[in-house]
Symmetry: C2
Subunit: 240 residues, 2 copies
């Protein structure tokens, strides 16, 4: 039986039925973690890779000042650490934001699979390039957009990423993220996040109640912040 991680990888690279079966099998060790649980700490060398199957998680860095910078949100289908293949030491931590279902993929299993399944290897590589691309867009978002557009841009990104794994309905999606966490992700204070959310509501762009976000007019929201989704590389946009 397939899962969102497999589905997402196969959107990157055409995978055979066998490839998919192999991928599903390496996800057999699934665990449910409560919210705000550490998955991997900064400085560790993970023994296994982790894929998010349900729930939200985040990558973050702790600064000496005490500030925490969230550098990516992880949604169902995302692989937390392609690094695991190389056994690099983590330069950031990962923790759950909501209750999560996580697949634990042992390091040696991943090695074996990539040795024998070139398509899977390509898919993993491609997905890591997509993550790099997202990281670059975050630099631009945090570095160059005013607070209201910055927040809008993040909401657009999450909408498309969740839509890609079938977790939106009419531009509505569950968003188990506090204003403080948005603040940590966008380099703003939680107070300011609050005010910018109000602004977006006033402009009739979004509705956000009880952890559910409704984008009232996705095109308008995208235009509001100059969002262009190509950087997500969700479609197979390459030639040949």
């Amino acid at each position: 039986m397939s899962n969102l991680f497999v589905e997402k990888l196969s959107s990157f690279e055409k995978l055979s039925a066998n490839d998919k079966r192999v991928l599903s099998e390496i996800c057999s060790d699934m665990r449910v973690l409560p919210d705000h649980t550490a998955l991997i700490g900064e400085g560790q060398t993970p023994e296994c890779a982790h894929a998010v199957l349900k729930g939200f998680a985040c990558r973050y860095k702790l600064l000496r000042s005490g500030r925490r910078q969230i550098v990516d949100f992880l949604v169902p289908g995302d692989l937390c650490d392609g690094h695991a293949l190389f056994r690099a030491t983590m330069d950031h931590g990962i923790e759950t934001l909501s209750t999560c279902q996580i697949a634990y993929i042992p390091h040696h299993t991943l090695i074996k699979v990539t040795d024998h399944h070139p398509n899977i290897t390509r898919a993993l590589w491609w997905s890591s390039l997509a993550q790099e691309s997202v990281a670059r867009e975050w630099i631009a978002n945090v570095g160059a957009r005013p607070a209201d557009q910055r927040l809008a841009h993040l909401l657009c990104e999450l909408c498309l990423r969740l839509a890609a794994v079938g977790l939106t309905h009419d531009d509505c999606y569950e968003l188990p993220i506090t204003q403080g966490e948005f603040a940590d992700a966008l380099g703003l204070s939680s107070v300011h996040i609050n005010r910018m959310l109000q602004k977006l509501r006033q402009q009739k762009l979004i509705v956000l109640v009880g952890g559910v976000l409704r984008v009232r007019d996705l095109k308008a929201l995208q235009h509001y912040c100059g969002f262009e989704g190509t950087y997500l590389h969700l479609l197979r946009d390459r030639k040949s």
Copy 2:
């Protein structure tokens, strides 16, 4: 004859003499470009990959507001587009900052090499993971550090990256980057960059004249901004 691109890759993965020879050969098409020349534009699908052998270049994104965000500096030894392997459309542009010597590596050559040389493939993948890691640190830098530390952090990063390819002497290095370009990289105005440079000079941390930066006390500069270089993944820090 080897070049800085080959040297840098071989610091990621143990490469045989033959691997290195192959890599050198695919760099045979070298061109010298003047400063501020476009290498690849946003939206293009490059026919070949580019490696910087001499000089400085940058990745950048143009925003609708007219602002330009530089999302990475490229120094000798850096590969501009691992993406080329997958023929993804570029979501950012690349242009030279100073006069550069660039190796043009045709797409099909790269494919052929990675098909036959697993170590080179691993080195390329590793280098792309390192770039991802740098991008994440930039998010934290732009999102969470005050202007003076932000600038100091970038200067530390460049110092280590250049040292890794032998382009520093006693923490001195050539820095052909204008204050306006620093501003575009750090999400600040050029006026403010100017004042922060003065501040770092006053604190006796740096000397910057005529495009040459001298870090007077690297440890002190690193401590000033909370710099920790592990994210650069310049040493082979993985286990096994």
